[in-house]
Structures are given as C-alpha cells and as structure tokens.
Symmetry: D3
Subunit: 331 residues, 6 copies
C-alpha cells in the first residue's frame, strides 16, 4: 500500500513533507504570470489526480528521464493557490513496477479478484453442455488472456470503469442470468451464460489500462464487438469438433449484445439468449450507474431530499435514492 | 365446454350438421354476384372466426332479435367456396350467458386463474412494508376490481392478448422480480412488487373484452397509464394515513413504466424500482412474444431450420428457436 | 418598494453605503488565494443576483441565524474585482416577510394580477354550459388554489418564468381562444376555454417559487400533466352530477396539450378542442419568447439590423424584429 | 348540371338507360376469364369514378378518337357483378368543354368562388401599407393568374383537394389571421396577410387539375415553395420601387411556411409573421381534415360513440367528434 | 440455352405445346372452387415465374420425386384464366444440372464474367504495395472462393440482384475508384482498391443462390460485414508476415463501409479510404438502381415525360430520365 | 505583404516594437481589476486574432475615428500576461484599402485564383451543349458577379472557409466530376458540370466577407439555395431562347444539392446529375475537412500514432491519417 494518496492531500497540513508513488499523466514546461518558468506535472493514483509543480528543474534531485506514462516516486508538500490544491515537488525519480502495486495507481474494483475469478469458473463448472464447457475452459486457461480478463476495466468512463471492472460486471451478470434463466423454458441456460462470459471479451484488446484508461488505435477502428467475435471465433476454430451451429449462435450473441444498430451492434438479437443477454447487460450497467450516483451524492454531502445531478448514462435524467428518501437506509 | 369450435370446422365433413355457441362479431345484409340476397354473419369463439351465411332469413327458425355482440346458438353445416371455408346457417337464436362459458367465446389464458390469483395474493402476503401490504389488500378486496383484474387481457393484439392475460403477465413478472430484487441492494423489494401489481391496472378500464378485445372511448382518450394512476391515487387517498412519499413513488412507477416518452410514458424512470420495472416488463412481454411465435411456427409446419416471419413486437425481426435448431427440444 | 435593487448596483458609486432586502440563494464558507477566510453569499431579488462577501463574520452586526431561502436585510457597498461587480457586506440580519414585498424578491408579471384575475372570471361568467361553469367556479373559489394560481410562474426558465406568469399566460390564451373559437363550427367554445384554464393547473404543485423557481420532488417525479389531471379529476368527482363524458374530455385536453408524446403528453389530441388548445398554447409561448428576445436585444443595445442570438425556445433559431427592421416601431 | 353523376348510379335501377358526361381517367383493352375481349374505361366526375365496359368496340356508335383526359358523353346502363357496380357502355363520343361545366367533372369547393374572391380582395383593400397593397393588386389583376388562383386545388390528396380549394383555404386563413393579428403587438398585420395570400401561390404551377389532380413535372422537380417564391419575386421586381426589405421578408415567409426543414421548407420561421403563418396554416389544414373526417363518419353511418378511422393527415390518430358525442349537434 | 423462357409464354399461342427447364420455387396440393383437386407448382427461370397446374397427378408421366429447389423438365401449354397467364403441365420430371445451364434459371449479369474477372485481376496486378497484392492474389487463387465470387449476387432484391452481380458491382467500383483516387493526395490507392474488392466478400456466405436468392441462417444471424471481416482476417493471418497495421485498416474498411451505424456498420469511416469507399459504394448502387428504373420505365411503355414510380432504393423518390426527357437519347 | 502577422507575435521578443495592418474585429472600453481604464481592441489578420490594449486613449497618436470593421495601422509591442499573449498599442490610425492587400487580412486560398479561374473557364469551353455554354459564359462575364465568385468563401466556418474558397471548391469538384461523368452513360456531362458551377452561387449573396466571414440578413432569412436559384433563374430568363426544360433541371440541381430535406434542400435529387452532384459535393467537403484535420494534427505536434480530435464536419468522429500511420508519407 502506498504511503499517501492524492485524495489524502486535501486534508494534509500545508507545508508538511510527504513521499508517494504516482503515475505521470502529463508533463509540460510552463511559465507563471510573472514569467517564472516551472515544470508542470499531472500526477495521479487510484484516488484521483493533482498538479505538481517543480520550481527548480535543474536541482540534481529532479530526474530528467521520466515521461508521460511512467511511475515516479516524489517528495514534496501540499499548498493551496487560489483555492485550488497543488503539490510543490522537491524530489522526483522514476520508479519501477516492483516498487508499487499497480492497483494503487489506477482505480480498481472493490471486490476480491481471486474470489470473482473463482465464481466465474464455478459457473463454467456448472455447465451441462460439454462443447460450451470445453470452449470456456480452453479460453480461460490461456494465461495471457486470463490475466487481461482479470485486469480489464469494463469501460473507459462509464459503468465499471476501473481495473477488474470487466470481471466484476460479468460475475454480476452471471449471477443475475442464473436467477432469470429458469424463468423462461425457451432459454438454453449454458448458451446464455456463455454469451455473458464472452460478450465483452473484446474489451481486453479495445482498451488499454497501462496509463489511465484509453482506447487502442485498433480498438477505435474495430471496436470490442468485432475484436471479441474474432477472438471467440479463433478459439472455436481451434477446437477440433466444435459444433458450427453453436459457433454461429455465440457469434450472434456477441454481435447483437448492444441491442440496437445505433449502439454499434451490426445485428439485432434474434434468439432468446441474445435478447435476454442484451436486457440484463443494459440493466446491470444502469443499476451500477445508479448505485454509483447515489454514492457520489452522499460523498458530495447532498441531503436525502435532493435529487442527483443529471446522469449521462441514464439519458441526462436526475435520480432519486428511494431508500434514502424513505429513511429506510437508516434501518 | 362447447360442442364445436370454429377451429374444428376446417376438418369437419362438408354438409354434416353441427350445433354451436358463438359471439356475433358482425351482421350485414348482402347480395351474391347473381343478385341473390343473404344475411352475412361473422361468428367467433376463442379459436377464431368464420363467415356464416343465412340464405332464408324469413325462416321462422332464424331469429331476428340478435345483434353485434350477442351470443347465439346456431345450427348449420360447413362448406368450401373458392377454397375458403364457410358456414351455412339453418337455425339461429339468441343465447344467454348462462348457457355457455364466456371463456369459450374469447381466447383465454391456459393457466388456472384461481391458482394465478392465489400466487398474486401470496406475494402480497410476503410484504414486510405494512402500508404497501394494506394498499394492495384493500385494492384486491374490491370484488368488482378483482373480477376485472382476473379477466382482463394485457393487450388488444400484442402480448398476452387473451382473457386472464393481465393476471398471467403480472404473476410472471412478480416471480421474475422476486428473483431479481435480491441482486441489487438499492432496491426496495416491496415497492418494486407493488409497482408490478399496479403498473397495468388501468387496463381494466382501458380495454373492454365483452365482444372481442377493444379500447373503450375513455381508454382511447386517456390511456391505461392515466387511468391506472387515477385508480391507484383514489385508493391511496382512501387509506387514512398512507405515506405521501410512497404515494408519489407508486404513481411515478405507473407513469414511467413504458420507459420512454415516445412510448406514452409522461415521465422517465428516475428511481431504481421504476427502472427495474420497466426492464422486466419489456423483457417479459418480448419473451412471451417470442414463445408465441415459436409455437406458431410449429403450428404452421415450419421446420427447425426456418426462421419465423417478421415479428411486429420485436421491430419486424425474424427469430430463430435456438433449442429447436440445436435439436435440444427433442431431448 | 425596495430601497435598492441588484440591477442598480452596476451604476452605484463604489464605496458608497446602501441598504437593501434580498433573498439568500446560497451561503458558503470560502478562502481567498491568500488564504483569507470569508463568508460568500449569493443574494438575489427580482432584478438579478450578485455575490456578497462578509470579511468579518464574527462582527456582532453579522447575524448567524440566516440560511439559504431566508430574506435578509443587508448594509454594504459595491466594488469591482477583476471586472466583476461584488458586494462587501458590513451588516446583515434576517428579515420578515412583512418587511418586504415578496414580489420585489422574485421576477414577476408586469400586468396587474387583480385585473388578470377579473378577466379570467369574466370569461368563466360568459360560459353557457352550466356544468363547466360550476366546475371552474368551484375550483377558483378554493382560496389556497386561487392564491397559488395567481402567484405561480408558468415555467422555471422558459416562457412566462415569473410570478403571475401562469395567470398571464392563461388570460392571453383565453383572449386568443375567444377570437379563434367562432371560426370553427366543430369547436365547443366553453370546453376549449375550460381546457385553457386547466391545462397547466398542475404547475401550482410541480413548481415551487419560494426561493427562486424550482421543481418540487413530486413535480420532478410526476410532472404537471399528471398533477393537473389528478387535481381536476378530484374536483370533478366532488361535484354531485358532473357528466362523465365532460370529465373524460377535460382530462384528455390536459393530458394531450403538449401535442406530442416526446414532449411528455401521454396522449395526442384526438378532439377538436384539444388540437386547438395545443396549437394556441404553443403559439402563445413562442410569441412570448419572441417578444422577450426582442426586448432583450434592445436592452443589450443591438441595432435594428442585427438578428437576436440563438433562441432556445425556438430551436436555436436567430430571430429578426420585423417592425424594428422596417422602421415601423418609430411610427 | 349533369344529368347523372357517378354517385347516383349506386341507387339506379339495373338495366335502365342513362346519359352522362364524364372524364376519361383510363382506357385499356382487356379480356374476360372466358377470353372475351372488351374495352375497359375508368370514367369519373366530381362525385367519384367507376369502370365502364364496352363490349362491342366496333359498333359505329362507339367513337375511336377519345383518349385519357378527354371529356366524353356516354349512354349505357348500370349493373352489378360480383357485388361491384359497373357500367355497360352502349354509345360514347368525345364531348367539348362547352357542353359541360368542368366543375361537374372534378370535385370542387362548396363555397361560392365569386364571393370568396370578393372577400380576398376586400382584405387587400383593407391594407394600410401601400407597397403591399400595390403588390397584391398587381398580382391579382393578372387575368391568367387570377383564373388559376380561383381554380387551383390546395393539394392533390389531403386538405382542400378540390377545385377552388386553394382560394377557400386562403380566405379561411385570412379571416383567422385577421382575428389573431391584433392579439400580438409585434405583428405587422399587412405583412402577415400578404404571407397568407402568397404562401401557396406556387401551387398554381405545381399542380395540374385538368384531368384529376396531379403534379406537373416542374412541380415535382421544384415544388410550390420555390415556384411561388420565384413568381412573387418576379412580380416584386417588376414594381419600380418595391422596398428590398419587404421583398426579403415576403420571400422568407413563403420559404418557411412549412415550419420544418423535413417538411420541405429550406428555412425555419425567423420573424413573427412567418411563425404565425406557419401555425395558422397548419391548424387550418388540420381542422379542415377533422371536419372532413367527421362528415365522412356520418356519411358512412358511424354512430356518435364511434371514433373515426385512423387519419393520415393527423399522424394516424383516431378522432372523436366532441359535439356529436355530447349530443350538442342535435341542439 | 433453354427452349422456352417464362417471359416468352405471354406471347405464346394458347394451347400450343412447349418443353422447358425450370426451377421449382413452390409445390402445393390445392382444390378449385368446384372442389377439383390439383397440384399447384410455381416454376421459375431467369426471366420470371409462373404458376403451372397439374390436373392429373396420378398420370405416370408426372414424376413424384421432385421438390422445392429441384430443376425439372416440363411439357405443357399456356392458357389464360381470369386474365392471368397459367401453365397446364402434362409431363414433368426431375432434371439434372448437366442438362441445363444454371445461368438460365436465375437472373444473371449481362456482362461477360470471364472479362469482368480479368479486369479484377488486372487491377490487382497494378498494385505497388506487395503485401496487398499478395493478399488479394492468395484470396482470389482459392478456387472455391473464386467460383463463389464470380457467381454471387450483390443483394437479394435491390441493386445487382443477379448472378455475377457482386463481381459486376466490384469491377464498376474499381474503375470508379481508380478515377477518383488520384484526385486526393491523402488516399492510399492500393488500400482503397483492396477495400473495394473485399468490402462485400461476406456476401458469398450471407446469401445463397441455389434456389432463388435468399439469406442463409448464418447470414441472417451474422451478416456479410462480420462474415467478410472473418474471412479476410483468416486469410491475412495465414500470410506469414502480413503487416498488422494493414490488417487493422482493411478490417476497418469492411466494418465501416455502410457508413452509418443504423445501416449495420458497427464503426463509422475514420480513415480517408473508408470514407471514399462508403461514398462510391453508395453512389454506384444508387446509379445502378436509377439505370434499372429507367430501363424498366421504357419496358413498361412509359413516355419520356413520365416520371418513374416511387423507388425503394432511393427513399421512395420518383425519378426523371434527364437524357430521355431532353430528347438526347435519340441522338 | 504585411510587415508582421498575428501568428508571428507568439515568437516575437517581448517589448520589441512592431508595425502592422489589422482588421478591427471589436472595440470596447474596459477596466482592470485595479480599476484602471483601457481601450480593448480585438485585432485580426489572415493568421488569427489577438487582444490589443490601449492604455493612454487620450494620446494624440491614438486615433478616435476607427470602428469595428475598419482597417487600421498600429504600432506596439507584444507581452504575456497570465500566460496569454497580448499587444500593447502605442499608436493607431485608420488605414485605407489601398495600403494593404485585403487578402492579408482574411484567410484566403493557397491556390492561385487566376489559375483557378482559368481552369473554370476552360471547363466551360469544353461544353458541347450550346445553351449551357452560353448560360455560363454570360454569367461569368458579369464583372461584379465574377469578382464575387473569385472572392467568396465556401462557408463561414466549415470547409473552404477562406477567401477564394468557393472557387477552389468548385474547381476541385469540376475536376472530380469530369473524371466520374464518363463512368455512367445516363449522365449528361455538361448538365452535371453546370450544376457544379452554379450549385453554391447563392453564397456570393448569402455570405459577407468584408469583416470576417458572416451571413447577411438576407442570407440568413433566405439561404444560398434560394438566392442561387433566383440568380440562376434571372440569368436564364434573360437569355432569349433558353430551353425551359434545361431551366427546370438546373434549378432542380441547385435546390436538391444538399441531398436531404433536413439539410435545407427543399427537394431531393430526382435526376442522375443531381444525385451525382450531391454525392461529389459532400465527398469533396468531407475530404477537404479530413485533409485540414491532418494538417492541424501535424501543426499541433501530434504523433503519427495519435488520432485527431473529434471532427465536427464528420459527426464528431476521430480520424486517422492512414499514410502517416503506415509511414508512407515519409517516402
């Protein structure tokens, strides 16, 4: 665990010295109004980001060799200027990934990734369809892919935009799908569960999460739907006797899971499993966004009688936390 | 049970005499190409409708006093003309509702209504919120309303368009909501279940189901959303201490359950329970439509490798019955 | 009348002392760049709002007990900082509603409310339909409702967003409807006029106008269409023999007056009176917006050859004041 | 007046001989099922259209020289075949426009065109703006244009689709605009009235009404908005000192009167007169459509408790005739 | 070449015997009005389709073993019934693909496929980029794929809906792209040409053209965009050193070539080559549709002053053949 | 050529004196935070715009008589305040258009206008249709129009928003159309080229380019489509025997060239030439926007692996410079 987090500095004594590890999100040469030059850094960790200023860039304790994307160790103090918090950096050097837990540098799931992974595998173990079980077992046994699956965020900015977010979202969806599947006899449960596990798998290639969360160029040009379909297809093609009909259905679920052409799905759901996948995926993302907004309102000190701000992920609606408004959260 | 149903006539021997009870859906004086006058009736029951022709309207065995909407008892025989089936009516008289089960005259749910009603009440019994439990108990104890709730179709033409369809749809939704609710801690389960029970209650006034399924004039001008909100509001106002916040939340769920302004909801879901209600309602209607289409394909003799026709309730998509295509339905 | 208005301070001598009554729109503890603490207040009246700073919050002449929403009496002076006008507050205390006319604290209609109310009632007196006349007489005789009807703004930000705006808008519409009604024989004039008077009545509950103009939580969750329909329905239900058909038609006009589903009307106009109401309501709102924009252009010193800025209420169009451009306004 | 109209034949004795003038709307050589050749004509007049069959095309009393679009005099008898009415034509010859009133051959306004024209001119006489008065006087003094203005339908199929329909629509709009104009001080009445008279003037070129109502090729490629603007511009350019600003405003009203880009207006209303013109034009067309639907329902024998069919001009809505439903039409 | 084509029968002497090869598009047992049973066949070839009736199904010259999709040889005669042409079938037997040229049974390109293929390859030969040249050479050298590429229609119903239509469309686009590419320096010509050749390659799997033109189940569930991307990706992966950036760009062009999400492209064009491909593809399809409509108008006997009917592929517009209207086609 | 350009000042020594000619884009009296009054000017030239402050407005070297829109000669020095560049103005006087090349004061095409004009005329010379050749020769021979055609920008802000931009865009389109026309036999090349030359001619009236680029009032109210059609119509009407069909077709091309009603075209393309004009115009504008974005990315120092920012003219897409990414631009 890190000594100090960006979020801690707000309540830190002005002038007191701190040491900490950060990601360099930006590095620029700038000048004050009074024409005094300085080096402006944007430093971040999982709790947020803040400007740090280096006033004596020629000081030997200020390294020259770090760049955007590097991890650094810095010593400095916090101060306020024009009501905004700022860091004054006295020493800085490049750090190595071994010195700090990467999970400290980017926002990450609050769940135990090992436990989430165990749940995912136990769902796969519950399959009765041997072809689908073999497909998923094969896929999740690929160490690089499994590692990426455990780390990837589910989005750059919206729902589950944190390390482990993809896995967290998938496990939530599996639990939900497991509850819903028995309600509809026309549903093939194992096929639905397979769709849940694979629908967003292209995100391990579409997004990068080394320095902040961003789209790769390939991700921008192709998208996770195409990338996920290609990855799934390659794996199915590698299995000697994978049934062609199952392959078509799985690819269809990946292609159609956004539910509308204008949301980037080239096909609309035409089988029961694809329809249910689209609904549950959308519902789970929106419920997560609601939960996040309610937490944010509490953090921001809003009262139970105040609606949230307008929420992008819910068409700019304002929301009301029912339980809190009714006083049920206090029970 | 009726002696003969419309659907049976397709395989009935031409010329053989039958007796049956039917609803009069239309009654018109017409003339053949050869200028021969006759009385044209459209007669229906729960299995369909067919034209019946009266060639001797002055025969004393042909009653004069029946009209559109009446139940009649008719004797006649089936024949084919230009490949279309037709009835020749020899005797006809007005019948009374005591002579025939109305459920035989209109399509109706295949479920046991008594059992569905029992399930509905047992869900209400499970509530821990006393205000919501009292509200629903009061409402369902109104004999006229309870009777209408058990009989009403859920729609005129689309999903659950049969007697008892509303109740069948609500019980399906309650079962589903009961599975989903524990998955999201921000949900107030009893409030969600109340929304499920009340969201379509305006349909008992919007629709009429005496003679076929149709909209009342009030239903056309006001809609079931407004009519349901008014009915719910009157009941809540009649309870001495019903909490005003609960009243607002329940009305909000009724108003917003279509999920989009362009679908006739004057408000979008702004609380977790309204969002979940909208998703589950939409999902259940679409899954029911899918199931119905798959059944229809089988009835029409389509093979497992053929997609359905274009389905209105699913944006004119064609659908594929996964289990049947995979051969899993034979297991 | 108040001694000084916010709008007057722009031309007030810097440093000269003023006294005035204001609404407290916000109250926050803040710090300058130089770490000097102060109390920041946003004070408003009907002419606008301005920041006032209290540099010595411990001075006994600075009251502690006022909050957001209170009316205060303040003594101070105006100054400019970084080109922005500001108040320095030396004394401040809570005031009572008896000390100041609330109409001075919020923007309000430029018409005489008593005269507008008289016109409204004289239109009701002109009705020949006794049921509609009784309905409106009953409604307007409720003192609390009548008071709210006279005070309510017609909107939070758009057309007629001032105290008395609802009444002003309704009387304008009544005058217009009275001119248009005889032109179409299929119109029932009294029914149309009833629709005009009741279409926005839900706004007395949807909006609050104690401290600025805002939506109530109930207003946000239910909307003025539903709230107005419920209010009208309750009143009609309270009249012993109110004709059910008239009730349906009145509710239909309230529900459909926005004219499109996507504007929040759950039903489209299906009777002549509802169609005309929707057109005149929309026309009057847009003509009021145009008039307001032309006045604003003159206030801002724009010449007759300049178009207005882009107008939100008219789809971001720019407008041209025809009469002014043609020089006819000088005649 | 014609001897017999198409609409009369429905109640005409079969076999009885009639004489009548008709428009030839189609002419085709055809064969019966039994391979018997005949000449099939579609003959029309202002009351409708019907097929007429010539069984002996070589009979000297059957002219050879008439074509689609000609007026003919025909002798024959009515008969029914397969429930459809038909004419058997025994004699037919080309007729001249002097033999029959063209108004008998196409649907035409029920108003007195001379009186409508007088009202139009009296509105122009009421103008106080000399430039606008001169413009309209000049335009309406052009005999060919005035003739076309009096004859033109207002549309091919929708509102006012009959001879004289344009004039009828414009006079209705003038009366309405004259009522509305004084209500808004920012309106220049004469400019608004000018817009009303000129907004659809391009229809005299866009439509042809010699044989049925149709679009000319020029009308299809350019549209009445462009054609009307060009016609108005040419006239204004021909007046020595017509003020350029007025010209711009008049053209803007013509261009923008459909109110939306997607309705074919290349510009949205940006002046008060254009906004009011767009609203009144749309309202008048829809009220005329409503009135027509109510008349049609009565003609078709629908009861006062039945809604109309779905109306194309009102977004496929069903409508209710308020006065008839309330029983007020009987007063 | 076939002895007789469906289109020829319209002018065939009634009763005269013909022999011909046809595709069986439907086969059904039916009954006449007079209850006479017969076998109804829909038989088709490249010029159209027609009903053929077998009145004596037990005749030994009537084969029992043919089904929907089979090629048959039939002997019969043409007759008219109720103005509709019909075939009376006296003898029928299954035929083999060796007896008849499949190109006679389905509509096919009027161009020489061998020549089109040569042009395609000569464009590939002109490439300067060795990777792209190798990719296309490899792909087109696959005999099965090359065969399918030469046969496939470009659509089921719209533009180029005939055998060889895909190849014809691609060669037209290559010629056009070759003209346009030099105009824009930012374009990589070889990359653009590669996009042209590959953009619709998925159609060889999406469509089937054995019996009429139809979508395969895989085609319906996945679409030609995904199927084409997968096919291209597999080929590129099979080339040892194919540059990954080129692979991404080629896949992006395939994914984005419909130009809009709502047209089924999961990505919008983000590189110059994809933008140009989308424009030229759309333009060429629309110009082909226009040309086809103009040909159809001439075939249907429309005059040069008549506009075409409403054209589905051009948003239901009517079109005018400029050259014909101006009389330039006669030059 | 000017001594100094706005863009040069960024790298100018602080304090060093410069002289330059500028356009006055704004002129305002303002005060500093410290209440020091000054005259604030926004001065611009073809390279950009910058604030200039006059601290001693009473100095006799500071002219009083210049206004918004005037050209001035100013002497001063550059300085930075709060990181923003600023000018301190010591002397300023009105200048005349003879002292400075107007092309230095507004952004202008990088092409040689004389050469572009020559190319335009040589395309006209290539026409074989004498009527079209005469029309264009007549039009381009009008000196005022020709001057405006050479100067006009093609837009206020989007593609080709610089002096000469209209001509540059038209010549690019002519070259492109000349390449495309032979590909489609149904195209009348001269008619298409005429459409290219005239489609945007209304912009010479819609836009003003004296002081920055802006819409005239007439341009805002009528738009370049109507203004261009009127200008073309007047010219055609002035030619004694211009064929009416050609006139209709040319006006149709002007009216429909935006391709969609919602883009302000009152008619959709219904002839081949109009369809091609719309496609090529749209393509050329988007390719120019892409080229401009790629240039801007290089100017801003973005690497070849970075996508551009979101581009307004391409639906907020990000773009990738293919050639640069592939390293082909270095060849």
């Amino acid at each position: 665990m890190k000594d100090i987090y960006i979020a801690d500095l707000a309540n830190f004594d002005e002038g007191k010295t701190f040491d900490g590890f950060f990601l360099v999100l930006a590095k620029q040469q700038r000048t004050t109004k009074a024409n005094k030059p300085y080096l402006s850094l944007i430093l971040g960790d999982k709790t947020g980001q803040l400007e740090g200023r280096v006033w004596m860039p020629d000081d030997p304790r200020i390294a020259k060799d770090f760049e955007h994307g590097d991890i650094v160790k810095a010593r400095g103090s916090a101060s306020r200027f024009d009501d905004r918090l700022q860091m004054k950096i006295d020493q800085i050097r490049k750090a190595t990934t071994s010195e700090v837990d990467k999970a400290d540098l980017l926002p990450s799931t609050t769940y135990d990734v090992v436990e989430l992974w165990r749940q995912l595998q136990s769902f796969v173990d519950s399959f009765t369809n041997p072809d689908l079980k073999l497909l998923l077992t094969t896929l999740l046994a690929d160490p690089a892919l499994a590692q990426a699956y455990r780390e990837a965020p589910a989005a750059r900015q919206l729902h589950h935009a944190w390390l482990g977010g993809l896995l967290e979202h998938v496990v939530s969806l599996l639990t939900l799908a497991d509850r819903v599947a028995p309600h509809y006899p026309i549903l093939d449960r194992d096929l639905l569960m397979t769709g849940v596990i694979l629908h967003d798998i292209g995100k391990v290639r579409e997004l990068s999460w080394e320095v902040g969360f961003d789209y790769t160029i390939e991700g921008t040009l192709l998208g996770h739907i195409q990338m996920g379909a290609a990855l799934a297809e390659r794996t199915m093609d590698s299995l000697p006797n994978f049934p062609p009909k199952l392959k078509t259905l799985i690819l269809h679920m990946i292609l159609s899971h956004h539910g509308k052409l204008e949301f980037g799905s080239p096909k609309l759901p035409m089988i029961p499993e694809a329809l249910v996948l689209n609904f549950l995926d959308d519902l789970d993302a929106k419920m997560q966004a609601m939960t996040g907004e309610f937490d944010k309102s509490i953090r921001e000190g809003k009262g139970p009688d105040e609606m949230t701000g307008r929420v992008w992920a819910l068409d700019q609606r304002q929301l009301l936390n029912t339980k809190r408004w009714l006083g049920e959260d206090k029970k």
